[in-house]
Symmetry: none
Subunit: 402 residues, 2 copies
């Protein structure tokens, strides 16, 4: 239900530990009508054994039919109603690269693109996925642009992606994107969605015009677009709401960003799942709640590679005993959204979810998979309710009412 004030009034301190294991894009679809999903096809003896001792179910990330982006999907897992708390992509990207974003800064995700010099129309929205080094050099160039009364920051992310941050007085969000979302069209002007945002739109359109000039002689990245132009929404922090010291382990910027926004400490970790497990073990004593993020399930789903997605799940299964050896008091395993390999993108489908603690009612589900979880004891629930359930199972929520 996502009533954070209620959670704040009921949460109590404790010694118990919660592990939230998120396999990004976990939910799948059968490759053939009668077949198994990626999770069902994967050989997962450890996940299955844990499912047999857990209560399972299916969970809607945001709302029926809605396909969540990574931001809303994770916000819901962290107990925030994503229809109430919206985060712009620019903010997520900025936080994800460790940029010290301040509350009044305006952040945009930038994409280098290729523009036909004669027509001005976009021919490649990702500029041939230029190498990260090239992107970094171009960002250097764009730092020359100065706007009246503003500090500007242009920071490379990966490949064709960058972040633009404006810092100064009177910045307002509520702005449209410049990316027309298809080739054969020109970049769009930034438009204010609220009258107060008009001066900020003007600033950004000025920046875009300068950027166009500076990039004109580059190839293939002779243009750029701005997306998800937004300010930090100022979420109430999980530490304050739940009295949990929260640590986040994630390899990819966006997930580190959303964790930071929710008030978690983002822990330094390596690129592999093994390295993430090491980080978990190293910091086990320091936190009450761990968000542990596995990215590659989503990546392989987006690639449309059913078998490779199943392999990533098997990889997680292999390291699961090392996580269990730390003896968390509560474990939740799910995903932020489905990414079926046959759909090759995020999707609206429910997520399988597993909840273990010493205080659950086992439900007879003995395999962690979409079809078995449909018959699970949690029934069909919503992501926003998972964290309150975890906190309750951790003995950290006081009674409501006398």
């Amino acid at each position: 239900m996502g009533d954070l004030n209620l959670m704040k009034s009921l949460s109590i301190e404790g010694q118990t530990k919660i592990l939230l294991l998120v396999l990004d894009g976990l939910g799948g679809l059968p490759a053939t009508p009668d077949g198994a999903t990626e999770l069902e096809a994967a050989d997962t003896p450890n996940l299955d054994a844990l499912a047999a001792r857990s209560i399972c179910g299916m969970s809607t990330a945001v709302a029926p039919g809605l396909t969540p982006g990574s931001g809303p999907g994770h916000l819901a897992l962290f107990g925030y109603d994503p229809l109430e708390y919206e985060i712009g992509r620019g903010v997520l990207e900025a936080l994800g690269i460790g940029f010290d974003l301040r509350r009044q800064d305006l952040a945009a995700r930038g994409n280098f693109c290729t523009i036909d010099p004669d027509t001005g129309l976009i021919t490649d929205r990702r500029a041939g996925r230029i190498p990260t080094e090239v992107g970094a050099r171009l960002c250097e160039k764009l730092r020359q642009i100065s706007l009246p009364g503003m500090e500007t920051f242009v920071e490379p992310v990966k490949e064709y992606r960058f972040v633009l941050v404006l810092r100064g007085e009177g910045l307002e969000d509520g702005l449209t994107e410049t990316d027309p979302q298809q080739v054969g069209k020109a970049p769009l002007p930034v438009e204010p969605l609220r009258p107060e945002a008009a001066p900020t739109a003007k600033l950004l359109n000025g920046w875009m015009a300068e950027a166009r000039k500076l990039l004109a002689d580059e190839s293939p990245a002779n243009g750029c677009n701005l997306r998800g132009i937004a300010k930090d929404p100022g979420l109430p922090g999980m530490v304050e709401i739940y009295k949990l010291r929260c640590g986040a382990i994630a390899t990819y910027p966006m997930y580190r960003g959303v964790a930071k926004l929710a008030g978690m400490d983002v822990l330094e970790t390596g690129e592999t799942i093994e390295s993430e497990v090491e980080t978990l073990a190293k910091h086990w004593a320091d936190y009450d709640f761990f968000f542990f993020h596995v990215k590659k399930t989503d990546s392989r789903g987006e690639d449309g590679d059913f078998d490779a997605k199943a392999k990533v799940i098997e990889h997680v299964d292999e390291v699961l005993p090392d996580m269990l050896a730390l003896e968390p008091d509560v474990i939740i395993i799910s995903g932020d959204h489905s990414t079926p390999a046959v759909w090759k993108a995020h999707s609206w489908h429910e997520l399988p979810v597993l909840l273990w603690s010493r205080y659950i009612r086992p439900d007879g589900v003995s395999q962690f998979g979409e079809r078995p979880c449909m018959a699970g004891g949690l029934g069909h629930i919503h992501h926003v309710d998972l964290l309150p359930l975890a906190v309750a199972n951790a003995g950290r929520l006081a009674k409501y009412g006398a």
Copy 2:
């Protein structure tokens, strides 16, 4: 969840087609404690085969325990929260007969009735179900009534039913009905539920007094009642919300009316299910979304005729292959409410629902019936969420958030 602004912001155009097949009053009850429901007892090889390839579940039309009228039940199927969007019966009836209702018109459903001339009390609320021709003649008579500053329209529907429409300045809805809902009572005065509606109530009471005089010498229809006095609520149209060209196929005025209110084109069709299927095939290329309504399941349920209701379901099963041959991308089959033959009226019971697309997770349900659907992979959902799910399965909803 029924957030139409969100749906409007996420919906995208496409080439896919959605078929919503509504068996009015589909949900049933066992005639004996251990027996089958009407749907379960019916021999439905085609529905069962489709269920085996679909994801099934049970759906609440409006809210637990609530028995929906036809308006709310259908609004929910069309994605409108019926507790937020209310439509008066007068409006539905007016639209259903093809009356060109304007936004500021006030419409009432009229019923001719029999009144004891000595006591003034109603002895038959439907005037012995007078033939439609008699009703038409009486409407002609009532057109003599003129109200100050108002245009009035009196249009026959079927048998004892008619529609009264007032057109003019300052009409307000929020008015009580005159039908006391039982015999042995006199027609009630129209009362305003809001102070602004008082002048409109006075106008209608004046009309009622004149009607009483004009009908006094008739038999058996020597009186009338006004029900569901209301204005067009001005629903946001499905075409705008979902970017779907919507066609409605229904034989009965009320369902054509509610479809029109939701912004659908109402297609000309005959009285039989076969004729409706022909209409579907004829217009298949013209629309993205089809609402296909079967009335007789409800009628036979209201009659209390269990076997006849099962026969209507079998009739639908027979024509189902002709609908599937059109190759819709998404199919939803359900009802607007339950009408169990043993209850002989609309009821509050959940509806079995079947959703097929290439992107569903089959759930092991291999018979379309209430008990099998209770174990279905959709779980227990709400009608208002069915259309968003259909639109998502049609690939016509963009990702929410980054």
